[in-house]
C-alpha cells in the first residue's frame, strides 16, 4: 500500500498526503523515500501541475524517522549512506522549480522538520498540538537530512542552535516569530488554504516573506560573530555534557562546515558524522532506550484496566501535589489531608504548574480553569467515597500507611484500587491487615513528579491483575514510563540506589572529598553526584531509609554506613534546612562550596585523594550488581525494565544504556574481574551476583541480540 496519496486537482495543485497505512503515525522510512521520490517526480513531470501541497492524513504531520532503519545500520558507512539517501531526496524537493507548500498540523519531528525546510512555503495551524522539533540530539544523533544546513539561514544561528542542541519544541506561534513557518491558519480547511498559497506562489502573487534579522543577529552573522556564537555554544555544550555525548559537537561541526565551505560540504559532513554517531555506543544506547520506552507504553496483557474517573490523593505534600498535577488532565482529583495549610500549599503547587503551562502555550487560560475545577481539597474521607483509584502519599511510616489504608477501605467501594506511593516500604507489609489486599499495590513516583518520567509500579504477591492493569494504564496516561516490579525491600530503584549512596558515605569515611565523589560520578555520566543528591532528597530521608533498609542484605556484606544517622542526629537535613554536605547561599549560580564541617563526623578533617575511576566504579558496580540481583530474584521481569528504571528513575548515565546494557558493553567477564578485585580489597559487598557470574562464565549477554 502506498503511504502517499497523490491527488491532482483541477486548479493545477497536486496534494501529496502522507497517510501511513500500517500505523497511526507517518514515519520517514526507507520505504517511504521511494514512494515520495516517485510522487515528486510525477509532480515535476506533469505539465498540468503548477504547484504542490504536502499534507498529512494523520493527527500528526510527520513523527520523524524510522528508528529501526537507524539501528539496522551497523557500520559508519551504512549510516552515511542512509543520510546520503535522505539528502538526495531533500535536494530534489528543495531544487524543485514548482513551489511546494507544507500544510503543517500536529507534530513535525526530526526528518519531518528537515523535509518542510525544503519546501517553498510552510503553513502551520495555530493549534496547540502543532509543534516542530529536532529531537535527534536526544537520541545521540544529528539532523542528517540537511537540517544543520537549512535551519540556520532560515531562523538565524542563535535560534537554530537551541533547537538542534537541545531538541527544543517550538509551537506554531513561536515558529512564526522565528521565521520557521511563513504563516498560520486554522486547522479546518488547512489543505484548501495551502492549495491557495501554492497556486498563488506559482502565479507569483504570493512571495514567501523573509524574516528581518535584528541588529544583534546581523552582527552575529558576520564571520567573527558566527565564530563567537559557535565558540560559546561549544563551551556550553562541554559544560553540560562533560564531553560524554558526541552528538552536540557533531552538530556544531556540521553547522561550522556549512558556514565555512557551503551547504554541499555541510551535507557531506552530516553524512560522515551521522554514520559515526550511529555506529557509536551512545546513540545505540539512546535509541534502544527510546524503543524500550515506546514498548512500555503498550498494555502488559489483555487484562482490561478499570476506568479511573475519580482519583483520590491522600497527603497533599509535595509528592501528593505532583501526583495531582499530572492527573488533572485525565480525571477528577480529590486531595485529602489533615490540614488546610497543607492543602492550600498543594493548591498553590498545582496552580503554579498549570500557570506555567499557560505561559508556555501548552494550555489555554480556559483549559487551566477547567483543570483547576477538577481539583477538590478535602479534610475528610467522605470526599473520596467515589474514587476509583487512591494514591496514598503520606509520610513513610508503616503504621501510618496501614492506618490510612484501613480508613480508605472503610470509605471507598470494593472495586477501588489502593496504591501506596512508597519508595521502600514493602507493599505486603502495608497491606498486611488490608480487607482487600488484591486491590493494593505500589505506585512509586519520583520527585518532582511532573518532571520525572518514571513510575515504578510494585506488584505484591496478592495484587490482582486488574488492579495492576488499572494502575499501569493510569500511569501511562499521566505520561509516565511504567515499569512493573515485584514487591520486596526497596523494590527495584530504591534497592539499587541504596548500596550506591551507601558507598558514597563509605568513601567519605575513608577520607574522600565530597566534591571528588560527586565529580567522579558526574564524569561517569550521572546528572547529579550522590552526595549532592542526598542533600536534595534530605539527609533525614537518607538516614530513615538506611535504618529501615540497611541491614536487609547484611549477609552479603552490604551493611549500612553510620554516617547518615550520625549527621542527622547532629541536625543535618540537607538543602531543606540549609545544613548539608554543601553550603547553600543565596546565589544559585556557580558550584556550591562544600561544608567542611561535615568531615568532623566523617573521620576527621584530613582528606586524601582517591582515584576518580575507583570512586565511580565502586558506586556504579554496586548499583549494577544490585540490579542483577533484582533480575535474579525476579524483582525485575527483564533487563529492559532495569535499564529504563535505572536511567529514568535514578539518572544512570543514559548513554551507557542502563545497568544491564552497561554490563553487556563492558563485558560480563571484565565486570566480574574488576568486581572481584574490589571484593578482595574492600569486602564481599562487591561479590558479583550469580547471574552475572554465569554470564561471565558462558560469555553471554543480558540482551541476547540486537
Amino acid at each position: 500500500m502506498n503511504p502517499i496519496r497523490l491527488e491532482k486537482r483541477l486548479d493545477g495543485v497536486a496534494v501529496l498526503t502522507f497517510d501511513n497505512p500500517a500505523g497511526p503515525q507517518n514515519i520517514l522510512s526507507r520505504s517511504l523515500f521511494g514512494h515520495f521520490r516517485s510522487a515528486i517526480e510525477d509532480v515535476l513531470a506533469d505539465p498540468h501541475v503548477k504547484a504542490a501541497v504536502l499534507a498529512s492524513g494523520k493527527k500528526d504531520f510527520l513523527a520523524g524517522a524510522d528508528l529501526k532503519d537507524f539501528l539496522a545500520c551497523g557500520t559508519p558507512e551504512e549510516g552515511a549512506a542512509l543520510s546520503a539517501e535522505g539528502h538526495d531526496l531533500m535536494d530534489l524537493l528543495a531544487k524543485s522549480p514548482k513551489p511546494f507548500v507544507a500544510a503543517i498540523h500536529g507534530q513535525v519531528l526530526g526528518g519531518g522538520v528537515e523535509l518542510v525546510l525544503c519546501c517553498t512555503y510552510r503553513l502551520a495551524t495555530d493549534d496547540p498540538t502543532t509543534v516542530l522539533a529536532l529531537p535527534e540530539v536526544t537520541l545521540g544523533l544529528l539532523p542528517a537530512a540537511g537540517g544543520t544546513q537549512r535551519l540556520p539561514p532560515l531562523v538565524g544561528l542563535p535560534a537554530a542552535l537551541p533547537m538542534m542542541l537541545t531538541g527544543q519544541r517550538v509551537r506554531s506561534r513561536k515558529a512564526l516569530r522565528m521565521g520557521l513557518v511563513n504563516a498560520l491558519t486554522t486547522p479546518g480547511g488547512l489543505v484548501e488554504t495551502a492549495a491557495q498559497a501554492a497556486r498563488r506562489l506559482a502565479e507569483g502573487s504570493l512571495r514567501p516573506r523573509r524574516r528581518k534579522p535584528s541588529l544583534v543577529e546581523r552582527l552575529l552573522s558576520t564571520p567573527p560573530g558566527r565564530a563567537f556564537v559557535l565558540r560559546k555554544a561549544r563551551e556550553s555544550v562541554r559544560a553540560k555534557t562533560r564531553g560524554l555525548y558526541p552528538a552536540p559537537f557533531a552538530i556544531l561541526d556540521c553547522v561550522e562546515e556549512g558556514l565555512k565551505r557551503g551547504p554541499e560540504a555541510g551535507f557531506r559532513k552530516e553524512e560522515v558524522l551521522f554514520g559515526e554517531l550511529l555506529a557509536g555506543e551512545a546513540a545505540r544506547s539512546l535509541l534502544t532506550l527510546f524503543l524500550h520506552m515506546t514498548e512500555l507504553k503498550k498494555p502488559l496483557d489483555d487484562t482490561a484496566p478499570r476506568p479511573v474517573k475519580r482519583l483520590a490523593v491522600l497527603g497533599g505534600g509535595f509528592m501528593g501535589a505532583g501526583v495531582a498535577s499530572v492527573s488533572l488532565k485525565r480525571s477528577a482529583v480529590v486531595v485529602k489531608d489533615v490540614s488546610d495549610e497543607v492543602l492550600s500549599r498543594c493548591g498553590r503547587t498545582v496552580w503554579e504548574g498549570l500557570s506555567k503551562q499557560v505561559k508556555s502555550g501548552a494550555i489555554t487560560r480556559f483549559e487551566r480553569d477547567r483543570l483547576w475545577a477538577r481539583l477538590t481539597p478535602s479534610l475528610d474521607y467522605e470526599a473520596i467515597r467515589h474514587a476509583d483509584l487512591v494514591v496514598e502519599a503520606v509520610f513513610e511510616d508503616l503504621a501510618l500507611k496501614r492506618k490510612v489504608l484501613a480508613e480508605t477501605e472503610a470509605a471507598v467501594s470494593e472495586s477501588c484500587v489502593f496504591a501506596s506511593n512508597t519508595s521502600a516500604l514493602p507493599i505486603s507489609a502495608v497491606a498486611a491487615q488490608a480487607l482487600r489486599p488484591e486491590r493494593v499495590l505500589g505506585m512509586h513516583y519520583f520527585s518532582p513528579v511532573p518532571r520525572m518520567p518514571l513510575l515504578e509500579i510494585v506488584r505484591a504477591e496478592k495484587t490482582s491483575r486488574e488492579a495492576l492493569a488499572t494502575a499501569r494504564a493510569f500511569g501511562v496516561s499521566q505520561g509516565k514510563t511504567c515499569i512493573v516490579v515485584k514487591d520486596g525491600p526497596g523494590f527495584y530503584t530504591t534497592r539499587i540506589l541504596s548500596p550506591f549512596l551507601n558507598e558514597a558515605m563509605v568513601l567519605l569515611e575513608e577520607g574522600a572529598r565530597v566534591e571528588a565523589v560527586d565529580r567522579a560520578l558526574k564524569d561517569f555520566g550521572y546528572p547529579v553526584g550522590p552526595v549532592a543528591l542526598l542533600d536534595e532528597v534530605g539527609i533525614d530521608v537518607g538516614a530513615h531509609v538506611a535504618k529501615d533498609f540497611g541491614d536487609t542484605f547484611r549477609d552479603r556484606g552490604l551493611s549500612s554506613s553510620e554516617a547518615l544517622p550520625k549527621l542527622f542526629a547532629a541536625g543535618y537535613e540537607g538543602r531543606k534546612n540549609g545544613k548539608g554536605f554543601y553550603i547553600y547561599g543565596r546565589s544559585r549560580r556557580g558550584p556550591k562550596p562544600v561544608n567542611e564541617a561535615v568531615y568532623a563526623l566523617l573521620g576527621g578533617a584530613p582528606r586524601r585523594d582517591i582515584p576518580a575511576l575507583e570512586i565511580a566504579e565502586r558506586l556504579a558496580f554496586l548499583m549494577v550488581n544490585e540490579a542483577v540481583w533484582c533480575l535474579q530474584e525476579e524483582v525485575l521481569s527483564s533487563p529492559r525494565d532495569g535499564d529504563v528504571g535505572g536511567i529514568l528513575g535514578l539518572g544512570f548515565p543514559p548513554f551507557r544504556g542502563g545497568p544491564f546494557r552497561y554490563l553487556d558493553t563492558l563485558g560480563a567477564g571484565e565486570a566480574v574481574r574488576r568486581m572481584e578485585a574490589y571484593a578482595e580489597r574492600l569486602g564481599p559487598r562487591f561479590r558479583p551476583a550469580r547471574l552475572l557470574e554465569e554470564a561471565a562464565r558462558k560469555g553471554t549477554k543480558f540482551y541476547a541480540s540486537e
Binding site: V334, L343, S344, G347, R370, A373, R374, T376, S378, A383
Partner: protein
C-alpha cells in the same frame, strides 16, 4: 400566573451545595461570577457519583452580569467538567434568579425533555461592572469612525470633565428610582414595623446561623473553595455574627433615612459573593442511577405586584399561589425558608400572611393565608446572616429547605423570596422517604 401542581413527571432534588458566602471585598475579591459558579457546579459534580455526561442542561441565575461572560452558565458548564454538548443558559430575575433557574430546570424534567439538570446561581458584588458615563461612551463609540489624530482630538474636544465620572450600577428599581433600602424603609413605615422588631429578627437570624454552622449543618451544604492567588481554602461563610447582641444591633445608625429611619446595616442583608448549584432529576432517573432523592417539587408560585408599594412582598403573594397549587395549607409546611432581604421585609410579609384584610383586598381570599411558626422559619439562619449573593440565594434556599426536611422529618417544605421589580416566587416541596 395560575395555581396548580407541577404538571408532568415527578421532579426530585438529589443534592444541593454552595460556595461559602463571603462579604464582598474579602477572600473572593479577585474571583469573577464565572469562577464562583465553576466552584459550585464542579463541587456538586465531585460530591455526587454521577457521570457529568448524564447532565442534560445547566441553568444559572445571575443579576449583575459580567460583560465578559454574559452567558455565565455556559462558561461555568464548560469549565466545570460538564461536556460541551450540555446546553446552558443564564437568566436574570433579580433576587429570585436561581429560584426561576430551578423552576425552569424542573419544567425540563417534568415535561420529559431532560432527565438530569443542574440549576443554580452565581454572583459577585466585589467586581460589579463600572461603566463610563453615557456621554463618554457615546464619544468612544463615535471615535471608531473618526480618521486621523487631529480628527480624534476634535472629536473629544467637547468632552466635559464630569463625563469622566464612572457610572456605578445601583441596586435600585428602574421604574421607581428607589433603592431596595429606600423602598424597605417605605414599607416599614407603612406597616408600622418597628426598629425593635427588625433588630430582634436580625439578631435571631445571626444566632440561628451561628448555631447551624457550629453544628456542622451549613458545612454540609458548602463546598470548600481553594482561591488561586491567595491559596487559602475557604470553608465558611464570613458574615455570620454569632456574637451579636441587642445592644450592638441597637447602636447602629439608620442607613437609608438618617433622621427617621429604622433600617440599618445590621438588619439589612449585605453585599455578598457566592454561588450555588442544585442537582435535579426525574424520579425514574434517580432510581435508575441509584441516587437518593431528598424531596420532590409539588408546585410553585410566580407573581408580580406594584413595584412602589409592594416591592418586597413577593412571599405574601407567591406563597398562597403555590400552596393553592399544591392543595396544601401553610400550617402543613414543616419547613419554611424565606429569603431575608431586610428584617423589615420579613416582618412585613409575616404580618400580611396573617392578615385577613390583606387576604381579602389583595389576594381575593376570605381568610388570611396563615401564620408561619417562627420555629419552622429559617432555622439555620437566612440571607441577613449568611449573606445574599443575589443570583445565588435561591439555590441556598432550596438546598437548605430540602436538607432541613430530611433532618427534621418534615413532610412538606416551602421556599419563598421577593425580588426587585416586585416579583415573587414560592416553591412547595414534598419529602421523599429514604
Amino acid at each position: 400566573m395560575k395555581s396548580g401542581r407541577l404538571p408532568g413527571r415527578r421532579v426530585v432534588v438529589v443534592d444541593g451545595c454552595r460556595t461559602p458566602f463571603l462579604r464582598s471585598g474579602t477572600d473572593f475579591l479577585d474571583l469573577s461570577a464565572y469562577d464562583l459558579g465553576r466552584a459550585a457546579v464542579a463541587g456538586l459534580l465531585h460530591r455526587n457519583p454521577i457521570d457529568p455526561k448524564q447532565v442534560d442542561a445547566l441553568v444559572m441565575g445571575t443579576v449583575i452580569s459580567d460583560p465578559d461572560t454574559s452567558n455565565v452558565a455556559r462558561e461555568v458548564g464548560l469549565a466545570s467538567g460538564l461536556p460541551s454538548s450540555c446546553p446552558a443558559y443564564t437568566l436574570t430575575v433579580a433576587c429570585v434568579s436561581a429560584n426561576l433557574a430551578f423552576v425552569n430546570a424542573a419544567h425540563f424534567i417534568a415535561s420529559g425533555m431532560a432527565d438530569v439538570v443542574i440549576a443554580g446561581g452565581t454572583e459577585t458584588l466585589s467586581d460589579a461592572p463600572i461603566r463610563l458615563s453615557r456621554p463618554m461612551r457615546k464619544r468612544l463609540m463615535g471615535a471608531q469612525r473618526v480618521k486621523g489624530p487631529l480628527g480624534l482630538l476634535r472629536h473629544f474636544a467637547g468632552a466635559k470633565l464630569r463625563d469622566l465620572k464612572p457610572a456605578v450600577p445601583a441596586i435600585a428599581d428602574f421604574s421607581t428610582g428607589l433603592s431596595m433600602g429606600q423602598n424597605g424603609e417605605r414599607l416599614a413605615k407603612r406597616l408600622g414595623v418597628t426598629r425593635a422588631d427588625q433588630d430582634a429578627y436580625a439578631l435571631s437570624s445571626h444566632l440561628r446561623a451561628a448555631k447551624a454552622r457550629q453544628e456542622g449543618r451549613l458545612g454540609r451544604q458548602i463546598v470548600p473553595v481553594l482561591v488561586p492567588g491567595r491559596f487559602r481554602i475557604v470553608r465558611e461563610d464570613n458574615g455570620i455574627r454569632g456574637d451579636s447582641t441587642p445592644e450592638k444591633m441597637g447602636s447602629l445608625k439608620p442607613a437609608f433615612d438618617r433622621s427617621f429611619g429604622s433600617l440599618t446595616a445590621a438588619n439589612s442583608s449585605y453585599l455578598t459573593d457566592g454561588a450555588s448549584a442544585v442537582l435535579l432529576m426525574s424520579e425514574e432517573k434517580a432510581r435508575e442511577l441509584k441516587v437518593r432523592p431528598l424531596a420532590s417539587l409539588v408546585s410553585y408560585g410566580f407573581t408580580a405586584m406594584d413595584p412602589l408599594d409592594e416591592l418586597l412582598l413577593g412571599p405574601a403573594f407567591a406563597i398562597p399561589q403555590a400552596l393553592d397549587g399544591a392543595g396544601l395549607t401553610l400550617d402543613q409546611m414543616g419547613v419554611v425558608e424565606i429569603h431575608e432581604a431586610f428584617a423589615a421585609q420579613m416582618v412585613a410579609n409575616l404580618k400580611l400572611l396573617e392578615s385577613d384584610s390583606f387576604a381579602r383586598e389583595r389576594l381575593g381570599r376570605d381568610r388570611a393565608v396563615g401564620r408561619v411558626d417562627p420555629e419552622r422559619l429559617n432555622a439555620w439562619g437566612g440571607s441577613l446572616s449568611i449573606g445574599h449573593p443575589f443570583g445565588a440565594t435561591g439555590g441556598r434556599l432550596v438546598t437548605t429547605c430540602v436538607q432541613r426536611m430530611q433532618e427534621e422529618g418534615a413532610r412538606y417544605g416551602l421556599v419563598a423570596a421577593c425580588a426587585a421589580g416586585a416579583v415573587g416566587n414560592a416553591l412547595v416541596f414534598e419529602r421523599v422517604e429514604p
